[in-house]
Amino acid sequence: MCFKNLPIEFDAQGKASLKGGVANPYSTATAGPPNVPKQLTQEQAIELVKRNGHIKDVDFDPVTRVAGALAFHTVADVKERRVLEGRSVATLFRGYEVIMVGRDPRDAIYITSRACGVCGGVHSTCSALAIEMAIGCQPPPLGVLIRNLALSLEFLYDNPLHLHLLAGPDYSEAIVKGTNPALIERAKGTEAAHVDVHGFRTIHDLMVDLNPLSGGLYLEALHMTRVAREAYVLICGKYPHPQTIVPGGMSSTINLTVMNEMFVRMSQFFDYAKKMAGIWEDLTNFFYDANPEYKKVGARRANMIDTGIFDDADAYDTTYKNANVWGNRRWCTPGAIVEGKLVTTDLQTINIGIEEFIEHSYYEPWTGGGQQQHFPTDPAGHPLSPHHMWNKVTKPKPGAQNWKDKYTWDTAPRFDRLSMEAGCYARLWNTAVAKKMPDNPYITATGHSLKMRLPRGKLPETEIEWHVPDVWNAFERNRARAYCIGWTSLIALNTWTAAMERLKDGDTKTSTKFEIPKTGEQRGVGFWGAGRGYLTHHLVLDRGAVSNYQIVTPSTWNASPTDKWGQPGPYEEAVMNTPLLEESTDPEQFRGIDILRAIRSFDPCMPCTTHIQSEAGMITREVNTCACGLDE
């Protein structure tokens, strides 16, 4: 049974329908999902702060010089070393949904690309997929393969960037010596297990090379992002906002020269991936051994969602009707994981299980008041919530911040009314457990792990294996992200080989002509993914123009606020579970490194830049950036 909270059941053929006898199946006036974490009420939080001097009301507030857009409010008990309340606040209205209404759908590829300054290609692609589905335009196989290659290269840019330019400094010698000096002493005496791969004899050596601006790993990551970007622009023209992604494929000209130049760059990631896996294995195990409490940093239920990515060129037909089939043939399997168990890999089931709520968001409701639900079902006839993206209408309503009422511009997406997190690790987990990925010589899903055979470079051919973890926390997010570099590079290798076979056969067609229908209403959805996980664009066309456009990004899920039932969003839950393991016992010296690690492990994107400040002016720290500020 996939759904436990929504009244949806499936017949023997897998067709979903609403359970009989439920008067208002999508009502939010229910008790909500049982056995989920709950926020403190506002009254409880105020009372705690009033009674206890050691309980601090701490704000992580956006004060970035440029584009900060996420704040984080916590109530922290510094004496007990735990966080009592966490509130995630997206402080900017972005409004792509509003900008898109009335436009030619082809504009969406270029406009929505700007939703992210790191991963514009994924939005362009997701947009193209939504249009393809709406208008019925199938790309040729080489177009699908080249699209896969382009986006895998984007991830090879994104994941190293996060691990060593943004998150890595949190674990560097420069930072840790200020927050946990005892760990530095321990690191000096701890030998690194994977020295033969990464070359660092001790964990301290490794931590020194993680130092921002000067560390070897930092500088190497900077270089590797260039290598990936160079390969990407061979296909896409420019980075991050590509010019060659179109409905029906890619407008790039692909020939042997382009493929060879791409391979030269792509192949550099095989050795790098071996090194990254070793580094994050050693680093994670060091922290766990030093203090098992680190397993609680950023910990939350293993509830994850992903729509899969990288299509099988022979399976993808753009249709919603066959989405379960082509979705399950993807290199990264779609899936929803609840409490560590994979409950579905079907895109249609994932789609109908998602709703967006706005109880704590600066939007007006689009349901109720006698408003008729635009789409009662999906195109396959499955029931659809009035809170679903195809039914949603974006109605911004700015207002004052109030934890009890509205406090964020982010919405609260929920799957089966559960708070889910997104990340590249979600697709790693889905794929490892589902065992549905295409047969290939390099990657094997075992049901509990993913084995990756990385070809010989300067380092020998090496098999690395990511295991589904027993606990889910900040360290596991980073560890999994490190393995994703190897995984993505091998998907790229498989895809590159398939594309070369097509070229050898004289197949050079990368796109299919299309026309935008000028009559009637059409629906489409792009199921794709970003370097940091889940991505969907839901599109409705009316007489050739966009009448509704809804984007749900990984950060929409991860930064989501508490919902109507008191269930916190993923950042909020992860921070509330985080013990404060800094060595200082002085509340005035509270730095928040563990909270920073918790939030940063989600790879929050730039528009979600987060800073910390106390209302007493005590702390001002960034979250999604390096924690250099802790080293004052």
């Binding site: 300054g117 601006l213 260039r226 830049t609 960034e622 950036t625």
Partner: protein, 190 residues
């Protein structure tokens, strides 16, 4: 042969904030000596630094004239043109890392571009900045009347400064943000 680069910095389709890219688009097709490059530098500062390093392999680039719209929010009226020669003094390591973070996550801002390219040892020895105080921060291609009125003058200044090294050397060396932001130095407002 040493070369000079005119670089436009900003965002496309962001009204006044597109001034840099509009200017580099407009100047790019103009006939000019081979020692003068016009480049759209409206992309990640790390990539801009790498571009400078790559270009320098062909022939040294000794001067750069950057043009951008930047809100200093310190009383400078919209449309004000400020010019300065950056003193190449980097901020603290913490600030550099913040600039790097912004840079790798997609933020395009001249201060970041200067900091990051200088940190990468990629920035030409002489870096002149022509900046215009913007007013409109919204989607669209039309500049506000104040910035549109300043545009031709800014364009002329950029070309003069690029063509005449002696003129730019008359400018005082200033910290980031220029004299406008540095209270110890006189304002240079055109």
């Amino acid at each position: 042969m040493s070369r000079t680069v005119i670089g436009g910095v900003g965002y496309r389709n962001l009204r006044d904030y597109s001034l840099g890219v509009v200017m580099s688009d407009e100047l790019e097709p103009e006939a000019r000596p081979p020692s003068l490059l016009v480049e759209d530098l409206c992309y990640g500062p790390v990539a801009v630094g790498q571009w400078f390093l790559d270009e320098a392999r062909d022939a040294p680039i000794t001067r750069a004239v950057f043009v951008t719209a930047v809100a200093r929010e310190d009383g400078r009226p919209p449309g004000t043109i400020s010019v300065y020669r950056w003193d190449h003094v980097l901020p603290s390591a913490e600030e550099i890392q913040r600039a790097m973070t912004d840079a790798v996550t997609g933020v395009i801002l001249l201060d970041n571009t200067l900091i990051v390219t200088e940190w990468m040892k990629a920035l030409p020895a002489e870096a002149v900045v022509v900046e215009v105080e913007p007013m409109e921060h919204a989607f669209g291609d039309a500049m506000s009347p104040a910035v549109a009125a300043a545009y031709p003058r800014a364009c002329e200044l950029v070309m003069r400064l690029a063509a005449d090294p002696e003129l730019s050397r008359l400018l005082p060396a200033s910290p980031l943000g220029g004299c406008w932001a540095a209270t110890v130095q006189p304002k240079v407002v055109w």
